[in-house]
Symmetry: C2
Subunit: 211 residues, 2 copies
């Protein structure tokens, strides 16, 4: 991006759809890096080689652009689908691998974007909560079927959020510069333990009436 000079004159330049795509792509990147509040429409427009007014022409408001960007209709649900396809014994590693691989691509995967925006933007906070509830907690709870499923899913959520923040936001070592395989080796078993590990402190009566 950023080759937007050479004497632009008014009038039709690109197919419109192309400009829209450029804006979307740059917006994804900047929102991903800086979150909603700290990303300005003008910065997006400049980086996309486009007049700021075009952003409003295509998306109405800044929030409209953000909604278009955080819209989860891409292939992300597909990746999530693949997690729950395999067997339960190795789902921990699959969760960690899918998470880190998708986040490393830095392309879309709105989770980091939302996590970055949630602290300052109430809308993002709600979106993040809904996303996790729907795509993680819900599916995990359904998969497990045990009465402590909600609790186990919550533990996995903590792993996911902690991993995302440690690697991509706070950039804590050695998490930040570990390879995907190393992270899977470290946190895969941990997540697995959260889901299918010993009953820990769970009341036996609850388990009995569930099976």
């Amino acid at each position: 991006m950023a080759e937007h000079d050479d004497s632009r004159r008014p009038g039709r330049w690109r197919s419109g759809a192309e400009s829209k795509q450029r804006i979307l792509q740059v917006a994804r990147e900047l929102f991903h890096q800086q979150g909603y509040g700290s990303t300005t429409v003008r910065a997006i427009a400049t980086a996309a080689g486009v007049d700021p007014a075009m952003v409003f022409y295509f998306f109405g408001t800044k929030q409209g652009l953000f909604s278009a960007v955080t819209d989860m209709s891409g292939n992300v649900p597909q990746a999530i689908e693949a997690i729950f396809a395999g067997d339960l014994d190795t789902i921990g590693a699959r969760i960690v691998r899918t998470l880190v691989e998708n986040l490393d691509k830095s392309d879309h995967m709105p989770l980091v974007m939302l996590t970055r925006s949630a602290p300052t933007d109430p809308r993002s906070e709600a979106l993040l909560r809904e996303f996790i509830d729907r795509e993680i907690t819900g599916r995990l709870a359904a998969l497990l079927g045990t009465p402590d499923a909600a609790l186990r899913a919550a533990m996995v959520n903590v792993q996911i959020l902690g991993l995302a923040v440690a690697r991509y936001i706070a950039r804590i070592e050695p998490i930040a510069s570990s390879s995907v395989d190393e992270l899977v080796a470290t946190f895969g078993p941990l997540v697995q333990h959260c889901l299918t590990g010993g009953t820990r402190h769970v009341d036996v009566r609850e388990l009995r009436e569930a099976e």
Copy 2:
């Protein structure tokens, strides 16, 4: 806060130190709730019943105020000290309890404040990283003394960050509305497992040459 009306006239009103304290207190609260970028000096001043210029009079810049607020010279290190005082077998529960109790007080404890600000403020990101490195990773690594200590400490960091984000930022259920005891019961053993659990994938040779 917010009773700042009744015909204020220019001149000396409070002891100065009192105004400074009011500003600090309100700033702590707002930074804690909204992070650095989304909290305005004007909002702090208004909430403290004070002219915005006073903030700059006392603290120079907005960043100066933030530094004063995030200064870790209070009793927080003391709370951390208590964690490492007890024995290693129950340190997991102590970590979780201390973390949640301090965060619930919402008074200072800059960890959430920094976590909220880190996504948008590079300074906060650095501060957060340094804080965790110094107060958590360093101490844990020294306490364990094993070659995989850094890795285990990193796992604990993920737990801490994940717990903080899930409970205080994304507000994911049932983490957000659990009691302290419930969280300790759930995550204490998990943290303990990270620190003193089975060797998992760790090479046996490394463990041998450490003991």
